[in-house]
């Protein structure tokens, strides 16, 4: 299965401020009760977006409709392993994320979905978040190859996890087919593990 190479993503952006934004905020657990990811965009930040009377409006997600890049702070996506969280962001329209840091499973899930998640320091993230607030129609571009983020007159050097960068640039962020092609090696590894055969002493 050939996949799309992802070297650059960009468009307008949405700042989602706050550290330790957990997956229960991004996608509350009660919306996990569906057997497909199709409608996850409807549930993105469901509770955080609503006030006590259920009215929308206070959350940046509602003020920056159409955004392609999310700009977040530290330990974003901590908590559960639910891929529903980045799925919801992707299906809402997010193609890439700039942040201070991510929880590991969340970052892995982004990689599985072909969403570049790059990091930079707190000051740079805050400056970018402020810039977006002042330029809501301004565009932010993530260059995966060069490891830069461009907005306005600014070009930021950012960090991108090596494996994620290579996978996106080579178009092999979906690893199933790639790993399947090594199946004979997998079987050899499995055979060499004593527990796979139930510790058969004849081994």
């Amino acid at each position: 299965m050939s996949e799309q190479r992802i070297a650059q993503v960009g468009g307008t952006a949405v700042p989602i401020p706050g550290d330790d934004v957990d997956t229960d905020q991004i996608l509350p657990a009660r919306f996990l009760k569906e057997v497909t990811f199709e409608r996850m965009n409807e549930y993105l930040f469901y509770d955080a977006r609503r006030d006590e009377d259920g009215a929308l409006g206070a959350h940046p997600i509602d003020s920056y409709e159409g955004a392609s890049i999310a700009v977040v702070n530290s330990n974003f996506g901590c908590g559960s392993s639910r891929e529903h969280a980045p799925q919801a962001m992707m299906r809402w329209g997010i193609d890439g994320i700039v942040g201070e840091s991510y929880a590991e499973i969340f970052r892995d899930n982004c990689k599985s979905l072909g969403i570049p998640a790059v990091t930079t320091d707190h000051e740079a993230v805050e400056a970018l978040q402020r810039w977006i607030e002042q330029h809501p129609t301004g565009e932010v571009h993530i260059d995966v190859r060069e490891a830069t983020v461009e907005y306005g007159e600014t070009t930021l050097d950012v960090e991108i996890d090596h494996a994620m960068r290579e996978a996106l640039l080579d178009g092999i962020w979906d690893t199933t087919q790639l790993m399947y092609s090594n199946l004979s090696k997998v079987e050899r590894t499995a055979t060499n593990l004593p527990y796979v055969g139930g510790f058969d002493s004849a081994d």
Binding site: A29, A163, L183, P194
Partner: protein, 488 residues
Amino acid sequence: MSENTLYDKVWERHKVTTLPNGQDQLFIGLHLVHEVTSPQAFSMLEERGMDVTFPDQTFATTDHIAPTTPSGRERPLEDDAAEKMLSALERNVDEAGLTFFGLGSGKQGITHVVAPELGLSQPGMTVACGDSHTATHGAFGAIGVGIGTSQIRDVFATGCIAADKQQVRRINVEGTLGAGVFAKDIILQIIKELGVDGGVGHVYEYGGPTIDRLDMEGRLAICNMSIEGGARAGYINPDETTFDYLRSREYAPTGAAWDVALEHWNAISSDADARYDDEVTIDVDDIAPLVTWGINPGQVVEITEPVPDSAEMTARTEREAAEQAYSHMDVEPGQTMEGYPVDVAFLGTCTNGRVTDFREAAAILQGRSVAESVRALAVPGSQTVKTRCEAEGLDKTFIDAGFEWREAGCSMCLAMNGDELEGEEVCASSSNRNFVGRQGSKEGRTVLMSPAMVAAAAVRGSLTDVRRMDRGEPVQQDADVTGEEAAD
């Protein structure tokens, strides 16, 4: 880089090859499946015309949406969405030929309770599950990792995940736990000291004299919450306690195979001269029972200790998180959490839903009653746990005290099955996450603590130091927690 640790050895044995992007292709020896994160993976597999390649290494149960009342479990389930998820799982495991511990199996329960008690989780394994609490299985000296749905598809199709090797941080735990202080308090203390993102990029190896003395159920509670400290995996080197626990469990090796297994299990431990990327010591001597005061699992105080003042915090992130927490929890810095009123008491989960947890809570409830204003739920982590507790008569202690004695599942830990907080209710909870909205109400408030502390809070109707309450005689003394009945 670490060398000769259990993590290095397990990684080396399970590494298939290095992928073009530099990640390792890692074989997964035990894949645990549940209804919430697997249906999309099964669909992706079908779209590609692929099958589950290693069905014998794959086991499924239902936990997140499992109703916890007997009538609620009648099929079709009352909640359409839950019924759809459960039916999808049943159909998928049937087509793939997987072993499934369903509602009627007598073995159903939370994946991270079921696999250990059946002897599926063993030293030296790699364990994966579409659930972040897969770290739990590290208690056996296995490497357990939580994965997303696309990675579940990878494991179904190839038996593998693509993974980066992490750094290994050794956490030496020293000191003697006083009465009323448990493994749960140790892990809360570790997260208190190292932070909720302290473990990012690391695997935690827990060791030292205090860990050595813990039973398996305590070790499971500690490894379970590695992820709350930011570490995707945490483990404890296997020892006699591990082997004694495993002996005679349904899926543990027997006869000659047991001896072969022991040899491998002993060889997999970190060597005496193992090299770690980092080492820290946590002293738990004389710590008081711990409770969370905020909205992340690192916002923790001893029950006797005042809630910290954000004005004295140096890190900006810590200050901001504290201010949000004061407002959500309605707590004041400088006050202790003692006396904080509680509306709901919740016992159970993959952290603290095992037999010893219910024994410790029952010892506090013996001869006492739950405060009138408190709704109290005891939810065994599995049907096996439930049966065992009932054999000991613990269910009567809970019911007599005013607890509801429920069926097995994840229940109010994440409120997917109808068990949930309402409005601003405060829950004294033996679970693992106090995130806003986690227990089903966005105004709801969660306070994490040990099962004994939950029982104490249920009785008093407010947070209280369990050490000040006499402990009733355990209903039935039994040194071997769950060993001998596992062969049933």
